[in-house]
Symmetry: C2
Subunit: 256 residues, 2 copies
Amino acid sequence: MARRLTRHAPPHPGRRHTGAMTGLANYTEPPAPTFLFDLDGTLIDSVYQHVIAWRAALSRLDIDLSVWRIHRRIGMSGGLFVSALLRETGRTLSEADIAMLQRAHQAEYLAQADSVRPLPGAADLLAALTERKVAWAIATSGYRATAHQALAMLGLPDDAPMVTRDMVAHAKPDPDLFLAAAALLGVEPRHAFVVGDSVWDLLAARRAGALGIGVLSGGYGREELERVGAYRVYADPADLLARADEVGVRGLALPG
Amino acid sequence: MARRLTRHAPPHPGRRHTGAMTGLANYTEPPAPTFLFDLDGTLIDSVYQHVIAWRAALSRLDIDLSVWRIHRRIGMSGGLFVSALLRETGRTLSEADIAMLQRAHQAEYLAQADSVRPLPGAADLLAALTERKVAWAIATSGYRATAHQALAMLGLPDDAPMVTRDMVAHAKPDPDLFLAAAALLGVEPRHAFVVGDSVWDLLAARRAGALGIGVLSGGYGREELERVGAYRVYADPADLLARADEVGVRGLALPG
């Protein structure tokens, strides 16, 4: 009698089906997927507060940028963010100015952090993954000083697996954050899904060799995310939780 | 000798080329295009302030909606806006609650109206159209009480051609605002370009029988606008001004 695969148990990483005498094909079964989550716009509803904070910081240097141009740069490294915006305005800034901008952004963001909420389903999704022993980590272009506040909001302990800007050489769209998060979990990036709301997440995912899952909750359009290579696009974490079977995690939305 | 068309003069509406004895083809020359502009996100950088204002208004009724869902509804009729958001949350509200929401949104918006700026090129574009005798009007889903503040910001007189929510039966995505604006200018909608930042503008343009031009300055992605039928998409009014020859207005970016 052929051995049956039990559908609800996590498959063993690298388990080899030899096929002999069983009727099963001969191949290496892939390990269970793991998830590397962006934070802002993916797990918490904070993109617009970041937009407002950058706009206020830039206005201290009399830099008037249209709000949509700031929005489309959120989620990338702060240094690249400032460089990109300056390129669009044709201005140049000293290193001291750039450091001031980053400090001002952080202060302006923290001043309105009280209005930030978790996105629908975010806490449930992480809890369900933990319950099902599916490994996950957070990887954010933000600094720990701003990002750690999100943990309590998501019902997570202070030592939840998270890689922040402080811990890597380069932020998104460089792959460092996702490579570091995969290393933290002890998994290969090619067996991880990167979940993010911005094109910078999805571009970094591809450089890391991971598949990217887009969410609309950061304000990008579906087509923008598909265009940079999203494997799937969901509305928000609640939508991903409800349809996680599409990306190989079975029974996630059911009671644990 | 064949009669030459002068390229820089506005063509005469309905002028008929008979073709006989001239070598020119026999057809009715189309009138010069006219422009019907949306306001928020198209001429002024006010979409994010509207988003924040709606979020604050909704929170008075303990309705917590993700910010991106609010953003994607900006620009449509306030009544439809509330209905759509309620559908997404599964709630129902009394007519009194809905009226309160609209008043609260207006008050919250006006409280931060000082931070609204014209979009790059908006004032120059309207001035250049006026200078070249290209007819234009503004058509906004907003009420006159909130919209008239934009006129001074754009260097326009109080009697600039504008149709507001107060003046029509239905707002976008119904075609009424653009039909009324075309009527105000005495032009047929099919000879007008509707310029807008949201899918609601472009959908209303198609129902009005006009061609829609999208701008990215309201925060929608290019592909979203193309998908609902944008004839062209520009970054913002400055970009449209620089490339207006693509839509049949020649020499607009040159000094008048």
